[in-house]
Amino acid sequence: MTSGLELKKYFENKVDKSYSKFVDNTKLNRIFKMALSNLSEKKYMGLETQKEYDEMRYAIHTEMVFPISNNKISIAPLMISNITTTGFIVTITTLTEHNLDIGQVVNVSGVQGLSTTPNINGEITVYNIPSPTSFSYVATFIGGTYTPNTGLITHNRMIDDYLHLFTVKCKTRENIRGLQVSQCLNRTPVITIFNKHNNLATGEKIVIANHPNNDINGTFYYEAITTKKGRLWMDETRLLAVVAPDSSDAGGTVSREYYEYAEPLYSDRKISSFEVSTPTNPKVQTADAFLKFSPDTTEITIDYFSSNIAEVDVSNNTFDLELVFPFKLLMRLVDEAIMIYTSPSRDALLNNLTERGMTP
């Protein structure tokens, strides 16, 4: 077991005991926090082999699915700048755009001075959205006065522990202009005949909407027979057939659903006419504390590097840090902490010795 207290002992063993007396627990916690941040950045930059991935196993999140509102997702908790009350309506103003929807449940924490029922420092449901930077909820009791600039908001439609992006896949939809189902043949599965030739291909996910034959409205997997005719399946492996009666009523719309990896879009590249986002080639940019997607995106699957790494408390002797970090990484962390400690104290000898003997 390696607790925070144990790490402190390793630190003291490597740094001269009398020398390390100058470091109290508060200062040492701060040093370890800096060391952990530096180390995770270094490991992030050096994520090449399985070893680095193993060491940062709790910081790496893959295949995380998030719904998307307004083609963007918050990547940092929202800071509250002000809270006002009118009758039983509590209006919260955020420092940046909140991108919330009516009815969404958010978690508020750290609000000081104000107390409400339901508790403002807990889960609240968005009742109204007066502006992009404010929203309100209904309270049955309101008391106290809000201390400005206190409180944070998190919710399940934000990535509040986001630090760096690995990859992100976007669910987009392409409406196929003018394409309609003009005829259905009752086979197993149903065969749809379109009003014009198209490039729908086998295995693609298509969405048929507003067709008079309601049995073919929905999201299906397509199996092309010709450029005008194809079968509809319920599943990707084409085992569950869609069943629908014969019909010769034309109508509805047909769109195609894509789930493709997005390419990053940087500001100085927007000038190029080639940098156009399409459903098959979506783009992602980081701005205003959001990941912004184009074209219209309804869901993402993201792999990212998390900022939510366990902090070291050098006075704690119960929590085993080996549960979240491999022992080798903890030893590397001690070395990193010594490097931070020795630099301002201008101890070149200790600095050089640590650098030379640093845990790989």
Binding site: N199, A201, E263, Y266, F274, E275, N281
Partner: protein, 216 residues
Amino acid sequence: MKTLRQIIESAISTVSGGLFIDDRHISSEQIEYKADEGRALWCIDYYSKTGTIHPDWIQRFYPEYDSEMQESKCMTTFYCPHILAFMDGTDGLRYFGAKDGYADNFTRIQSRAQLAAMMNHNIMRIGRRNYVLYQNGIGEAYTKTKINDPMMEGVFARPTEIPTFNKEKSNYPLDPAGVDYLEKYLTQTVLKMEISTPSDSRSDGVDSNKLPRAVK
């Protein structure tokens, strides 16, 4: 046979040591255009050496009637995709005519002057067949009766613009030897250059690599 996406990813993987990574600076769209150019070069070279058009290059296009596009009662105008031109005056338009029943290949007219001469010729005017004049993406069909479901087959300049072509799933209209040529072409003309040229990756409005500018 490979899809366009597979060809591009294969070329990218080749220059990046077997890995498909996405820290490229050239956009996918730009590489797609370059792929179409490489295909055109291959087809033209192949035709000049063999005098034949490989059947794998041919795509089908179904022109759609648009009443707003019609300017004369004598002809029906269609939007058509651009076609390749080969060395000896032959071009990529292989068929333009009816789709159903017995194929009716409209007689190709090479220029408006030729069309005018034929229309004014006493014998040719009486015994006329269906004619088609194709110029710069527009097809004009001069027919005796209504055209039902016209169809066009040809070697098109941008295969991805054909509405029945699916970039993700359709085989790219190129023969296997041509695919090999195309991957090498992409590697040499786009991807190697990208690797050997440091990119100005910083978004500061300044060319930090100080690449030589064009001399007037």
